[in-house]
Amino acid sequence: MFPTKNNFILCILLFVSLPLQADISVVVNTANSNTLDKVTLRKLFLGKIEHFPDGSPAMPLVHPEEEGIAQVFNLILLNKNKIQYKSYWARIIFTGQGHPPETAYNDKEIINYIKNNPPAISYINSASLTKEVKEVIRFKETLYQDYINNNGNN
């Protein structure tokens, strides 16, 4: 049986799937009482500031750039696709202005690190959220779809 045109398009859509569609929670240590808005979070994850609003040191952790959750987070919060994100840090590094945040490999590792380290801040899939960390903001999966609708899937 030959695929119909609609089936063919469906197959293509299944193979060319979006990196991730799930809510993303930005998480900090439970003792962290700072109120963090998107502007502050952007500055933290782009290396523009190194302290929380209360003056305590901040240590962002990120997922590997190739991971779907990292790509979605970078699109939603930083407004940078994978290539733009890499180019941004290339410019920052080789003009001596800083380095990208350290990388953790999964949500469990992030939670385990954050629960013992008050300066840490990172993001996880909201489904992985536990009481060991504190959620400061949640990005709905629809935000990613809105972004794609407005800007295209780069």
Binding site: V39, K48, I49, M59, L61, E65, E66, L78, N79, K80, N81, K82, I83, Q84, K86, S87, A90, R91, I93, F94, T95, G96, H99, E102, A104, Y105, K108, E109, N112, Y113, N116, N117, A120, N151, G152, N154
Partner: protein, 424 residues
Amino acid sequence: MRSLIHLPLPLCLLVIELALPTLATASEANNALESLETRVSKLEKKLETNNQRIITDGFFTAAYARSDDDSLTENWGGIGNKNDFGALSTFGIQMTFQINPDTKAVTQLIARGEEEWAIEAEWAYFSYSLADNLTLRMGRQKAPLYVLSEYYEVSYASPWLVAPDEVYGITGDSTYEGISLLYEIPSDTWETTVQGMWGNNSFKAVVLGDVSLNNLLSVNITSRTDTTTFRLGYAIVEGDFPAFSQALPIIPNTPINIGDRLFFARNEHTDIDYLSAGFVFDNGRWLVMSELVQLTVAGWFTDIDGGYVMTGHRFGKLLPHLTYSRMINADPGARASGRIVSSATGLPLPLPDSTVGAIADHFLKQEQSTYTLGLRYELAHGMSAKAEWSHITDLGNTIGQFRASAPPTKDRVNIIKFGIDSVF
């Protein structure tokens, strides 16, 4: 185990078979937990030592280039009419020593194929954070003359293998020893940086030889949003240039013979001004870049107005782009101060200043336009492949951005470039 003894053998085997996966799962879970704990422990140690560690970063470009003109060599990269794997190839390594949270030392070593892979320290400075938004740098650093000046060699961070010659090829070496101050103006929408610099530079120029540039005073302001960058820059510097001597061919209707030389005396304390304006728009799909620069040099040097406009569109990993760049001579010709010295007598030929000026114009005026069609493809994470075709024309009987023993006889040169670049 004791209770199993009393069970029939088939039932015992069934119980063991059912228990084994459970035991295996528990064992795997323990292993996974240990692995996670080990990784978290490593991560903690890594982050704890974050402030004291040495960070190493690097970049490279491996490229091939060739032009279709066998009488000219491209000035900046040295591209000629031969298979050239060195002209645009570069390897760089940067080491950042975080001395304490406010102080770091940064060294960037670069080896270029064009310079026989000799290693040169392009950056070597101390950086000290005076306040949250104010940073002081002392040492060897790139002067921020244009948008890409500070990371010109990091080809991965730009759409081209080589940025337009009509802007980036007119300044010479922009590495200075000096002091700079960077101030970031706090804002929630525009990220604005003001940078001032004072310093000196000396280098060996391709045609002129040993050049000293002293007391550079540079200031620029760069404002960025997620998608848009605006930049304005101004710099003044005092140049000391050696005497200039150029062998001439036979020039009809003049007493000039082959071997006679065009000569300009040493130029000291020559004022040089750089003025620039830049614009970048990048929304993830469309990329538009443009810069306008003005180089003004006192004396017989040619003043140049240059600029480019490029546009590209990303289709996933592909970025096709088109660039038009143009440089024009911007002075009326102050080159009558030269002399043409006879190779036979060693004395200046009795020529009117206007004739000397007109002949000198052929070798020193620089005009050209370049149309570049390029394609960038993201090969892998942090690695891109690039292909470019540049059509250079509108030389207007000038030498353009080429080295040659005589002005070019035709008005078009094509250069093809292929390369792979990466950051790591």
